[in-house]
């Protein structure tokens, strides 16, 4: 029950999904569509579970008074306000949109923009031409960076953007292709192992 059934389920669903892709029969197509919509239904449950875990973690932090435990209340406040307004007034409600546009959106964008600062700091402290390979990476990066902005063309008489385009189109493309081919083989081989029940680590440890 604990190990065999999941392995069988995994096998059956995997094989069915493979088969339906080789079969244009209307029954296969119907099955395909139906199972796809199941995956859409199962998804939200996982999200709710993740939220429950989040709530548990923060409740534990408050209970144990770990460092900065007061901020866990801020997490709850954000969560509850968003959920209450969203559920009762629907996501199209102006109040919900206001919260999204003025609270979530600016914070999300700002968080990621912090990386611009870190890149600059890393550029000064960490990016060193220590080896031949590292130098190649650095030089390409500099060319692409300059090719990505108009000032590069202004300083180099239009060669920067052409060089960037050539690099992206040629050596970059073949490297990507090599990676795509290799990683895809890895993904397919893992998928085969999963369907055949050889790879079981997703079941976690225990019996």
């Amino acid at each position: 029950m604990k190990r065999q059934v999941p392995l069988v389920l995994c096998f059956v669903f995997g094989i069915v999904m493979i088969f339906t892709q080789f079969s244009p029969h209307s029954f296969s197509q119907w099955t395909y569509q139906e199972v796809i919509s199941w995956a859409l239904i199962i998804g939200p449950f996982a999200l709710v579970l993740a939220t429950v875990t989040l709530i548990q973690t923060h409740t534990a932090r408050i209970r144990r008074r770990t460092e900065h435990w007061q901020y866990s209340f801020v997490v709850f406040a954000g969560l509850i306000i968003m959920v209450l307004i969203g559920i009762f007034l629907k996501p199209q409600n102006p109040m919900f949109e206001w919260l999204y546009n003025n609270v979530q959106l600016p914070m999300d964008a700002t968080m990621f923009s912090l990386l611009a600062f870190f890149i600059a700091s890393a550029a000064y402290r960490a990016f060193r031409a220590r080896t031949f390979e590292a130098s190649l990476l650095l030089i390409t990066a500099l060319i692409v960076m300059m090719g990505n902005v108009p000032i590069g063309d202004l300083l180099s008489n239009d060669t920067a953007s052409k060089a960037r385009q050539w690099i992206l189109d040629n050596p970059n493309l073949s490297a990507r292709r090599g990676i795509i081919l290799g990683v895809s083989l890895g993904v397919i081989s893992q998928s085969i192992r999963i369907i055949l029940g050889i790879e079981r680590s997703y079941l976690g440890g225990g019996d």
């Binding site: 999204y100 611009a116 000064y124 108009p150």
Partner: protein, 267 residues
């Protein structure tokens, strides 16, 4: 090695953004081939064609993708191309809906006739596959809850067969999903506008023709604004961007010079 406080570098970055922005510098922008191809493909569509636009990005990528999405929408509404907006990303619908409405209001496009926004459905791959047979099987209503059967422009649209081009504005692996599932399986023509982070991995698909065109980050946005003839944020930001790139290039060079001096001294 002089290990300066990284906060000094942070201040330099901030200045490199603020000063050029206040001075509003203007540098000429040329147009790259993938952008031109994208533009030409859309331009060649006859009036009354339909484009599906997937707004697959959240707030963390709006700086790069909003300007290009706006430029494309302007072009579509100007040349009577109908737009179906969707998204595969959970934090996108509010942002995308606002964006479409903003451009539609400016261009006088009518909701339900010139454009429709269908919103978000979970399970990216399943959504893409589902629309291959029947869009209504995935989206029974639009974002506002109007039944799809009651939307005038959706009357003659069942699946990808009636969609002339799919444009994916993306910040993650969604372009690959669109290619693997919509292009390979349903032969849907696809063009993409992507963030800087994922540009490099798009080129294999461009060469095989799995992508008909590509806009790269804020530069692509500036180029497209240029082509459409509606300079906006993209053009303005790419100029500021120039100075920050110069600063970073300078930092790398200074860093390496000090590194080499240090190394020679050690030897």
């Amino acid at each position: 090695m002089p290990n300066i406080d990284r906060r000094i570098v942070f201040i330099l970055v901030a200045l490199a953004v603020i000063i050029p922005m206040l001075l509003s510098v203007n540098l000429p922008v040329s147009v790259s081939e993938p952008t031109q191809k994208f533009y030409d493909y859309v331009e060649a569509l006859p009036a009354g064609s339909t484009i599906m636009v997937a707004f697959d990005y959240g707030p963390s990528s709006l700086a790069e993708l909003n300007p290009m999405a706006k430029a494309l929408l302007k072009q579509c509404f100007d040349s009577d191309i109908r737009v179906i907006g969707i998204t595969l990303v959970v934090d996108a619908p509010t942002l995308a809906s606002a964006l479409i409405q903003e451009v539609a209001a400016e261009k006088g496009a009518v909701e339900g006739e010139d454009y429709v926004f269908l919103g978000f459905r979970p399970g990216a791959v399943q959504v893409i596959l589902g629309m291959g047979t029947d869009i209504a099987s995935v989206y029974d209503t639009d974002y506002n809850g109007t039944a799809i059967g009651e939307i005038p422009m959706m009357q003659n649209i069942t699946n990808y067969d009636q969609i002339d081009l799919l444009v994916d504005f993306a910040s993650s692996d969604t372009v690959e999903s669109w290619i693997i599932y919509a292009n390979v399986q349903y032969n849907q023509q696809i063009a993409a506008g992507v963030t800087g982070v994922i540009i490099a991995q798009m080129f294999p698909y461009l060469q095989t023709g799995q992508l008909v065109g590509l806009l790269s980050g804020i530069l692509g946005a500036a180029e497209y604004e240029n082509l459409v003839g509606a300079p906006a944020k993209g053009m303005k930001w790419i100029n500021v961007e120039s100075f920050v790139h110069l600063l970073i290039v300078g930092l790398v060079i200074i860093g390496n010079i000090t590194y080499f001096i240090h190394r020679t001294r050690e030897e």
